[in-house]
């Protein structure tokens, strides 16, 4: 526990020394939010797109989920794969720090960063674009935490499976764009071609957004989204544990 706290504190400090990553994770969603609101902003609720709600309200939850997903699939795997590649993981492991504690530290850091990002995106949406404030605060916080932790664990799994930091970076950027374009953060899925819309339906970030949207708009809990994101968390945790157990070279 003491080790987990020490490593988490260290990892947070290290993360704060990477200005580019901080910028990417926190500023990019705000920029895209700005662009999309310039395009669609102020459009009245239209039953044929955005699930029948106003564009801003639709995008706000989509972006909060997107930040969590980006931190999860981009920064966590790049860091962990880099650690593995360079021998940092072995260095820590040899000094009796369990890899679980190190991964735990990364999950905590990712969740903290995602939370800061969510607050930034949420504030900008509400203040600058008049989005609704969360109707059910507890529900929104819980949904956000579940979402952030699940994507961070997915990221940890990718970090342990991908051979190099470069590979992790490549896949992370690819996933980021797929998430942006098809996960509800870009064009509304109602206007996407059928196949692409179906790909969007298969993306976890879509469910992350739905998970947040329910309590945010006061529409209750989207049970399907809860099931999908929890399933993602459990599956990734199990696979990560299996990977730690079987890989000789971590």
């Amino acid at each position: 526990m003491r080790a987990l706290v020490a490593v988490t504190a260290t990892e947070l400090r290290l993360f704060s020394r990477e200005p580019m990553t901080v910028l990417f994770v926190l500023v990019l969603p705000v920029v895209i939010l700005y662009v999309l609101n310039g395009v669609f902003g102020g459009q009245p609720a239209d039953p044929s797109v955005w699930e029948g709600i106003g564009a801003v309200d639709f995008y706000t939850s989509a972006y909060v989920a997107l930040v969590a997903a980006t931190v999860g699939v981009l920064t966590v795997p790049v860091h962990l794969a880099g650690y593995r590649e360079q021998g940092v993981l072995r260095r820590f492991r040899a000094s009796a720090l369990s890899p679980v504690a190190l991964i735990g530290a990364h999950v905590v850091v990712a969740t903290c960063v995602a939370t800061v990002g969510a607050v930034v995106v949420g504030c900008v949406s509400v203040v600058a674009y008049g989005a609704l404030t969360p109707q059910d605060w507890i529900g929104v916080v819980a949904a956000h935490l579940l979402c952030a932790v699940s994507f961070a664990v997915l990221g940890a799994l990718l970090g342990l499976v991908l051979p190099t930091a470069r590979a992790a970076q490549g896949l992370g950027v690819l996933l980021f764009f797929v998430f942006v374009m098809l996960g509800g953060a870009g064009p509304p899925s109602e206007v996407l071609p059928d196949t692409l819309a179906r790909v969007g339906d298969a993306l976890p970030v879509t469910y992350g957004a739905r998970l947040l949207r329910g309590p945010w708009l006061g529409n209750g809990v989207d049970l399907q989204a809860v099931a999908v994101i929890s399933g993602l968390l459990v599956a990734c945790a199990v696979l990560t544990a299996w990977r730690l157990r079987t890989d000789d070279r971590l």
């Binding site: 003491r2 080790a3 020490a6 490593v7 260290t10 400090r13 290290l14 020394r17 990477e18 650690y83 360079q86 021998g87 940092v88 072995r90 260095r91 492991r93 040899a94 000094s95 009796a96 720090l97 369990s98 000789d248 070279r249």
Partner: protein, 312 residues
Amino acid sequence: MATAVSVQHLQKRYGPTVAAADVSFDVSDGEIFGLLGPNGSGKTTTVECLQGLRHADEGRLEVFGLDPRTDPAGVRRLVGSQLQDSALPDRLRVGEALRLFSTIRPGGRPWEAALEEWGLGDQRRTAFGDLSGGQRQRLFVALALVADPRLVILDEMTTGLDPAGRRVAWDLVEAVRDRGATVLLVTHFMDEAQRLCDRLAVLVGGGVVATGTPAEVVASQCRSVVVTFTVAPGSDLGFLRSVAGVDAVEQDGGGRARVTGAGPLLARVGHALVCHGLEPIDLRGELPTLEDAYLALTAGDPASPGQEEAGA
């Protein structure tokens, strides 16, 4: 003396590559034990299996009675190690690294002491990525020792260190042993092994080919001692052939003589020379060194080409 580390018939394969074919040795509590051998002979594999960082295929491993395969966490709590191939996060600073490692493994001396001891005081706020190779190496050895472990594993600790750094490292390793810890030292430097190791094992092609004190290993490989001196050209040295232990006597045109044999050759040859009225001032004995023994032991290894002649 109690056994600190026991390795019996360790085997480890990577696909078709046999990294360790059959490695066996015991390290007693409180000694400095050396592991020597050509590149690729399985030294790193062996010490990493001992720490549970790699999973041994076959064999019995014990570190203070614990099996690294079933209780890696327990083993690692007793071991401080410097890995041959490892790193720290680039942005982590020297002071932060030492503090972090002493928090993960409490119980050692204050980490600030290690900073000074290893001459890293000025680098306290330097990021790992900005350190020179030798400074990194110093940091790794400092990290290995920071928790005051019962067993210290050092895999080529002085590679990349300047001469002053090597002396510091040697003195500290001896100090660690004198505090009661056991040291397992992987090295390519024969002077280091000769100076530090109480006992050592030589690995070739994934198997142990010799174990013992440095003197025993030398004696097992190189029986022959050489005595050299200079006398007036053409002097008759035939009498030396009857001295006990002498195998051969050679003399070149300049009067330089070379006597080879075994046993206390220098004393006997010296005595015989004086008895025959010869008192060369440059009479010298050359004992075989650990390096001679090592080269002889590893002569057949494909990783050490061209050593056949050198070792013969």
